[in-house]
């Protein structure tokens, strides 16, 4: 199954992709009134901007040349009005574009995170946290740029260009055509730039990816490099890749500068042509002085958007690359979907609380972890599951709450196939408690009420804390239940964390409890507390305890020994010991080297 694109993805280079722009438009649809407002603003702003040179023309021709200072004052007053209006409009424009972009990516972030929550566990095995964080937080920023300085800016530029052309033709079409004689050269320059820049930018991306990959690898393998005294060789490799990147950046920058410089030069030529031709016309009396001045200013506006094309090109290119990755992730369907059908326990049912029937399961391809595994736990029964590490005990727990799905065979809860359960209800019903579980940022109380919908009575909470033997240490916290737990519960000890996990399980109160016991050892005192807490938790409940410490399973109703992907032995502690099989050996093994 493909993952959602690598960090150093280098297959992209396009600045405009119809399909992706259509998707972006779809994502922006809820905010279309904002977009419409921006689109209304653009011509307004263009009009007000284009009024400035015109006012200049009127000032010169009608007032300065006619020595009408009072009239000039009026024009100046009008100019003040135009300036203020323009400032306000520009502010509104910039804010609206930001508002649109930010709202769109706010929604995209929410959609991405929501989608991640729906994806199955196997997806997270293949995609490291860092990469997913980049999707949710990094890539969307590039998309917002498309709104603030990419797509929209291009639309605004086109409108301004059209306005400039119109006003120039209207003022003096002769002079306008003379000015536009430079346009074919402009097209040639822009076309050449587009052709070259695209490849140049792609090379920059590729070489940067290569450089990053090399850097990352060298850092990871630094011990090996130093061990074999290969520092100089590695440095040489890096220098080469760095040089290649440097050359690519230089090439792409030189295209940017080519465009910039040639547009500037063409602009100057246009002004020169204008002065030469216009000067003659003024002398001939065909053109007024004011018109020529206004023309020079309009010509500058005409060239500005074309000159800045390079910057917009880059913005759009990275926006396209990012949206490709974002939509790639959003398009990846969850492999495990809830049927949404509610399942209630049939009161008459005699079906086991949980049952595995001939289950085959592999995380990858044919590397079977479970092979034709069958087991069942009757309602009210306390069963322990033991076996050497890596045999698949935790895997069985993950199958029971449908984090993963069996390739063959059936997993039944209350006699109903888990695939027919509503997933949320299933997970409320079969609670998997990781005893060494992580705590989330929040207070102790919030962590205890995790996943419980609705209110929890304070008395119930207190009882759970009491039963879990956590009351003493919680009371000792400065703020008790309201104590904030640091990042990942950094401020509580290992043993205390296990007690909190047990209290949390008591509050969650699932019908079937699957307990995946912690492997890590704690001090003897905590060990005793945890054991008491556990018996409080298991009392009167259907449970499947995955035990790493065999000492904790001796009181189970039944012990299952998992080996080679199936249940190898089962029975009570005493019976299994008498049998002298795997369980007996495991017990001896756990007694440790000292007992030999």
């Amino acid at each position: 199954m493909p993952d959602v694109g690598h960090e150093f993805d280098d297959r992209l280079g396009r600045a405009f992709d119809r399909r992706l722009v259509a998707r972006l438009w779809h994502a922006a649809r809820p905010h279309r009134s904002l977009i419409a407002a921006s689109l209304v603003l653009f011509p307004l702003i263009s009009a007000v901007e284009l009024a400035q040179p015109y006012l200049m023309k009127v000032a010169i021709d009608n007032h300065i040349l006619k020595a009408d200072w009072l009239g000039l004052t009026w024009i100046v007053a009008l100019y003040v009005g135009v300036l203020v209006l323009l400032y306000a409009l520009h502010w509104l424009e910039a804010y609206l574009m930001n508002l649109t972009g930010q709202r769109v990516i706010h929604d995209l972030r929410a959609a991405l995170f929501g989608h991640l929550l729906r994806l199955e566990a196997a997806f997270f095995d293949r995609n490291p946290v860092g990469r997913l964080m980049t999707r949710v937080l990094g890539d969307v920023e590039a998309v917002s740029e498309a709104f603030t300085s990419g797509l929209f800016a291009v639309v605004a530029d086109v409108i301004t260009l059209a306005g400039v052309v119109g006003v120039m033709l209207w003022l003096d079409w002769h002079l306008a055509l003379v000015t536009f004689s430079i346009v074919p050269a402009l097209f040639v320059a822009a076309g050449y730039f587009r052709l070259r820049a695209r490849d140049a930018y792609r090379r920059v991306r590729q070489r940067l990816a290569h450089l990053n990959g090399l850097l990352q690898e060298s850092l990871q393998g630094m011990a090996v490099i130093q061990l074999f005294a290969r520092e100089r060789y590695e440095a040489e490799r890096f220098r080469e890749a760095n040089g290649a990147y440097h050359r690519a950046v230089f090439a792409s920058t030189s295209y940017d500068f080519f465009l910039y410089a040639s547009v500037e030069a063409l602009g100057s030529i246009a002004v020169a042509v204008l002065l030469w031709y216009g000067g003659g016309e003024i002398i001939a009396g065909a053109v007024s002085f004011g018109v020529l001045v206004a023309f020079i200013q309009y010509t500058n506006r005409f060239f500005l958007p074309i000159r800045d094309l390079g910057a917009k090109y880059t913005v759009m290119q990275s926006a396209m690359a990012s949206s490709e990755r974002i939509f790639g992730l959003l398009d990846r369907p969850p492999a495990i979907v809830s049927v949404g059908r509610a399942t209630a326990r049939d009161q008459e049912s005699r079906a086991p609380a949980v049952e595995l029937q001939g289950v085959w399961f592999a995380y990858e391809d044919e590397a079977w972890v479970l092979r034709d595994c069958s087991l069942s736990v009757a309602a009210g029964e306390r069963v322990a599951l033991v076996g050497p590490t890596g045999e698949g005990k935790s895997t069985i727990a993950r199958l029971l709450n449908r984090s993963y799905e069996a390739q063959r065979g059936r997993v039944l809860v209350d006699g109903v196939d888990v695939r027919e359960w509503n997933v949320a209800r299933l997970r409320r019903h079969v609670g998997i408690i990781f005893q060494d579980t992580l705590l989330f940022t929040g207070t102790v109380e919030e962590n205890l009420k995790l996943g419980v919908d609705g209110a929890v009575a304070p008395a119930d909470l207190a009882r759970a804390v009491e039963t879990a033997r956590a009351a003493a240490f919680v009371a000792a916290l400065p703020r008790g239940l309201d104590e904030a737990l640091g990042e990942r519960g950094a401020n509580v000890s290992h043993g205390q964390r296990q007690l909190l996990a047990i209290a949390r399980a008591l509050v969650y109160n699932p019908a079937v409890l699957v307990l995946d016991e912690a492997t890590s050892s704690v001090d003897a005192e905590s060990e005793a507390l945890i054991r008491e807490a556990m018996s409080g938790l298991l009392a009167g409940r259907t449970s499947l305890t995955i035990a790493h410490r065999l000492s904790t399973v001796q009181h189970a109703d039944r012990i299952l020994v998992l080996h080679r992907g199936r249940i190898h032995e089962e029975g009570s502690h005493a019976a299994l010991l008498r049998r002298g099989g795997l369980y007996a050996r495991l017990t001896e093994l756990q007694a440790g080297p000292s007992a030999a």
């Binding site: 074999f228 001045v293 093994l589």
Partner: protein, 419 residues
């Protein structure tokens, strides 16, 4: 990693665009100003009158923008901490059906981030049009005061128009100045951080040294971790006195984690050694027991492995790393737990290879699997950093010490695995 690339990028923009635009800015500004003063000093004063006020205004804006940008950045930190927490704890999220809570939690942080981003955008939105305003006010003053001068006959119309042109050259530099200064500031900060790294001496002592079997070995591999003089000897010579290269010629070392680079198998074996030709590579690969498998790959020894290539199994990686150590034909071979990440069947195979490798060589094998230790002429047992027992395998098993107890446990484990 991120520090490296983003700092370098900042410095790049400092020496690239920052420098160019600083020089350009100064020239444009000075040139335009000189031309204006030459044409008409009074009018110049008039035209420049609004500038100081606008520069001050820009500075004020800048302060607000910085403050809000920081607030936005902080909230991004909060948001990313949430995302990280929930993605990393996804198994708990699933087990406790925390999806609604996670969504709500994320939504509130996301909303706050949006709020702060928009607050920032509001100030920034007023900052950008300032450029237009500065240009406009200059033109305005010029038009009014200069227009009067033309009307009064003190100034020619052409001079007024030229003045307007020069003014345009002043606007952009004024704005660019602040912007350039901020690039320079960012670049210099990054430069300082880069210097901090490159300035760090490469012989820094590693703070934490792994205890147990790995330590004495690594200690001999100067300069990764340097032992005290007079404590570690190779062939009667103090390792701290040996020239750096010499030790590595004598010692072939296979680390516990056989790290492979995303390169061809041959390159992984030679790591760029000039004296290792194809024949030597093959010889090493044969000795390490990877030659046959490698020949089976599509491109043979040129097959690229690792993240961007063929994925090798733990045992295969281990053996490529072994070939890497052998290609230099070292008289002493040090193996750090070659059985750490291989299963029982491969263990037999590697043990078989070891016997062949030991021909005419000194081999130091660090391992927690005692079955492999059976091959050794002498076994040294370490406990908590000290040698507690020494001798032949058979004698140690009979001695009923730590080694004998470990032996019993591992036999039990084997029995369980075989059951």
């Amino acid at each position: 990693m991120s520090r490296a690339s983003s700092d370098v990028a900042a410095v790049r923009s400092l020496v690239g665009f920052g420098a160019v635009s600083l020089v350009g800015t100064v020239f444009a500004f000075a040139g335009a100003l000189a031309a204006m003063l030459a044409a008409d000093p009074w009018l110049t004063l008039w035209a420049l009158a609004p500038y100081p006020a606008l520069v001050l205004l820009a500075k004020r804006f800048n302060a607000v923008v910085n403050q809000r940008a920081q607030a936005t950045q902080e909230q991004l930190g909060v948001l990313s901490a949430r995302v990280q927490e929930y993605i990393a704890g996804m198994s708990v999220v699933r087990a406790y059906t925390l999806e609604p809570r996670a969504s709500a939690d994320f939504a509130s942080a996301n909303r706050e981030y949006l709020r702060r981003s928009l607050a920032l955008a509001r100030t920034q939105a007023s900052f950008a049009p300032l450029m237009g305003l500065i240009a406009g006010v200059g033109t305005l003053v010029l038009l009014w005061a200069g227009g009067k001068a033309v009307v009064d006959g003190r100034l020619s119309l052409g001079a007024l128009v030229a003045f307007n042109g020069y003014l345009a050259y002043l606007t952009w530099p004024t704005i660019a100045l602040g912007w350039t200064l901020s690039i320079v500031r960012r670049g210099l900060t990054s430069m300082a951080r880069i210097q901090e790294i490159t300035g760090a001496r490469s012989d820094e002592r590693e703070e934490q040294i792994g205890l147990g079997t790995t330590m004495p070995l690594s200690t001999s591999m100067r300069p990764l971790w340097e032992p005290a003089p007079g404590t570690v000897f190779v062939g009667e010579r103090d390792v701290t006195r040996l020239p750096r290269g010499a030790l590595r010629v004598m010692l072939g070392y296979v680390p516990q984690e056989g790290f492979l680079f995303s390169r061809s198998i041959a390159e992984n074996i030679t790591l760029g050694r000039e004296d290792a030709d194809a024949a030597r590579v093959r010889e090493a690969a044969v000795a390490a027991g990877v030659a046959d498998e490698t020949d089976g790959f599509l491109a043979g020894f040129d097959t690229v492995v690792g993240e961007r290539g063929l994925t090798l199994s733990g045992g295969q990686r281990q053996r490529v790393a072994l070939a890497r150590a052998l290609v230099g034909r070292p008289p002493i071979l040090v193996l750090d737990d070659p059985f750490a990440s291989v299963d029982a069947s491969k263990e037999e195979e590697i043990a078989g290879n070891l016997r062949a490798l030991a021909q005419g060589r000194t081999v130091l094998l660090m391992t927690h699997r005692l079955r492999a230790a059976q091959l050794a002429d002498r076994v040294v047992v370490l406990d908590a950093g000290r040698v507690v027992e020494q001798g032949r395998h058979e004698d140690l098993v009979g001695a009923r010490g730590l080694y004998a107890r470990l032996w019993r446990v591992q036999q039990l484990e084997e029995e369980i695995a075989r059951a």
